[in-house]
Symmetry: C2
């Protein structure tokens, strides 16, 4: 068991400790939900105010030529190093859902005989829901959802694309990216990764794994703000062969030539559809700029250390942990299964520890090393033990409190 | 010819004059480009700061249950009265391009024998580009682009949907909404309107016309900010019959039940895909709130009066106006055709009058009665006459200046 003193000693030696001051966190809260909505970087309000008052208010339409029009590419370039991509392999725009749709339809059009999207049961819902929508847009295509244990057997000469979420939103289990990318390629299929719970949480090397496509969310570990724009990755070798079904004007080769016919832009720009959401991009860029000079190896190590502190507390409380203990096989959150997980979540929130409940029986706690200290996670672990011990979660009144999801 | 004195007299009697103070406009600029990017409402920076610091920073994930999750429906309800819709017929989210894609694919799935999308040549590019993408997602579907004069003849028993932009982005010509909706219905097709250059610019009555579907932009006359989220309208009678091909989790009947299978939510919610962009929604809501107690009839009348002042100046300068003179047949901008339209646009900008150039030969000037005075438009007209008269636009050096589109 880690002691409070040990936790404090680690904090004193923490190379990331200075990052905490770069976030505006409310007093009295231990925020273990940055894996759902990352907190506010201190730089963000000023960045938003500048974009609103100066760029929009003063410069007006002229700002499109003063940093707005290329924001999707510029921000993509800032995400690239976090996922093992080249700067011109990533673009920011639309939602993860929309980007999944674009990449799935494009992947289904590569080969006329490969008609299935393979994914796993219990994947994050929008991935499966969007895949349903995507296969309905390609003649003969279908979605094959199998249990994780049956994924390898499901890959065959009809598989167009294997779509997996790198780190599972519920269990935090992490796929071996290189292994599964190879498995998809061995079957002749493309590999599409959803990095929503990975980017900024664990090392990601799309290039090293040889992945073809990826999408991901920026409002979790990248601290881009609620509903921040998502990103999309296409490996260089596919960029001129794939095109977006959402063929909007911002992805046109010459958007201001106002041609009736669609011609996809070269490179990643073709994946844009409508006009980029500049205010949302501004907030995201402030979040991304925190990563510029960061020692990412220190981050991964601290994530593992924070995780262990909470795992010890959970074990001491007798909780069932459903997350892999090997850091290489998990993300940066921990999930405990409990029949009263909902009530436990509420009891923790009432004590200032914000985590979240995932139906039907998961208490989920996320660790974001940029602003969490070891001592804080230790205190949260103590509170978890207290909550379990006092058994107030057995009181039916807890069930009547509204969930904070 | 309207005189400066007459313009000032009208300003003195203008019931909308007080609205000007609700915008932050730079000094020395007459902004005739609110039809491209509406200016900054004074309330917006404070709204953004509050969402960032309080709702995001302090309340964190809890804000999803404190006004965020229903923002798409709430903002839709605020747009509804501007387009003749019921509050539960409009939802805000994604881009106009994405919303066109959703509605077109859905409309193409209504009847197995109706396979064409009919639209007009020279429609706003993204409408045609997205329609290309949409027909590629429905077996047998195709896009039929014809000249405006041939639209009526193009409607037949193969037409699934007639897609028109109510007010043309270039000429400002306005379709008779009731007439064309009836023509589509007489042919057995659905009617889809793009209201990007209409909403907040001219009276729109989707309900009165019996229109089926509509989309539109909020960063022009609704002052929602650069790249603000778009809206989508589905007439009540279609809401349970159509579904979105972009079947993301936020459009699911129970998004937090985390089911593998997609079940569309009732009503307009099914048109959502990803997580709503809250910062962008915040700015848009501040723009929409300007419309709450507005005398819209005064607005339409002032738009027509501002237009006339500029039309008179253009005529005096010998410019060719390509916009209809009948206010009922146009939007709230005026377009002049000129071989040196690009250089004229730059010359006006150099004199503080911001309008825009639309390739290859259009100078476009927009009138947004919420913040423009009659005297201001009169002065812009005088500057236009000066620019034409001094012929500096014949100087090749003008062509070397970069466009501000």
């Amino acid at each position: 068991m880690t002691t409070l003193e040990q936790a404090r000693t680690r904090d004193a030696a923490d190379p990331l400790a200075a990052y905490r001051d770069r976030f505006a966190l409310p007093k009295g809260v231990i925020y273990l939900d940055g894996n759902s909505l990352g907190p506010l970087p201190r730089a963000t309000p000023a960045a938003l105010a500048d974009t609103a008052a100066r760029a929009w208010g003063d410069r007006l339409i002229r700002s499109w030529n003063e940093g707005w029009i290329d924001a999707p590419q510029r921000l993509g370039g800032k995400i690239a190093p976090l996922i093992g991509a080249a700067p011109d392999e990533v673009i920011v725009g639309d939602s993860t859902s929309a980007n999944l749709f674009k990449t799935l339809v494009a992947a289904l059009r590569v080969s006329p005989t490969r008609r299935t999207v393979v994914s796993e049961a219990g994947n994050f819902p929008t991935d499966l829901h969007i895949a349903e929508g995507a296969v309905a847009c390609v003649p003969g295509a279908r979605l094959r959802i199998v249990a994780r244990a049956d994924l390898a057997a499901a890959l065959d000469d009809e598989t167009a694309v294997l779509m997996l979420t790198h780190v599972h939103y519920k269990t935090a289990d992490r796929f071996d990216m290189a292994h599964w990318t190879r498995a998809a390629h061995d079957a002749g299929a493309l590999m599409l990764w959803d990095l929503s719970h990975s980017v900024g949480a664990v090392p990601v090397d799309l290039g090293g794994a040889g992945a073809d496509l990826a999408v991901g969310c920026t409002y979790k570990y990248l601290n881009g703000g609620p509903g921040a724009p998502a990103f999309l990755y296409v490996a260089k070798r596919w960029q001129e062969r794939l095109a977006s079904p959402l063929s909007g004007w911002m992805g046109h080769a010459a958007p201001f030539a106002f041609e009736d016919g669609y011609r996809p832009a070269p490179g990643m720009t073709r994946w844009l559809a409508g006009t980029p959401p500049i205010l949302a991009m501004t907030a995201l860029e402030a979040g991304l700029d925190l990563w510029a000079d960061l020692d990412r190896n220190a981050l991964w190590a601290k994530s593992a250390a924070l995780w262990t502190i909470m795992a010890e507390a959970g074990a001491a409380a007798g909780l069932e942990c459903v997350t892999a203990s090997d850091p290489a096989k998990r993300g940066s959150h921990i999930s405990f299964r409990h029949a009263h997980a909902y009530e436990l979540t509420q009891a923790l929130i009432a004590r200032g520890v914000i985590g979240d409940f995932r139906a039907p029986d998961i208490l989920r706690l996320g660790f974001t090393p940029l602003y969490l200290s070891h001592a804080e996670v230790w205190r949260a672990g103590e509170l978890l033990k207290t909550v379990i011990a006092d058994e107030s979660w057995r009181d039916p009144a807890y069930a009547e409190r509204l969930a904070v999801t």
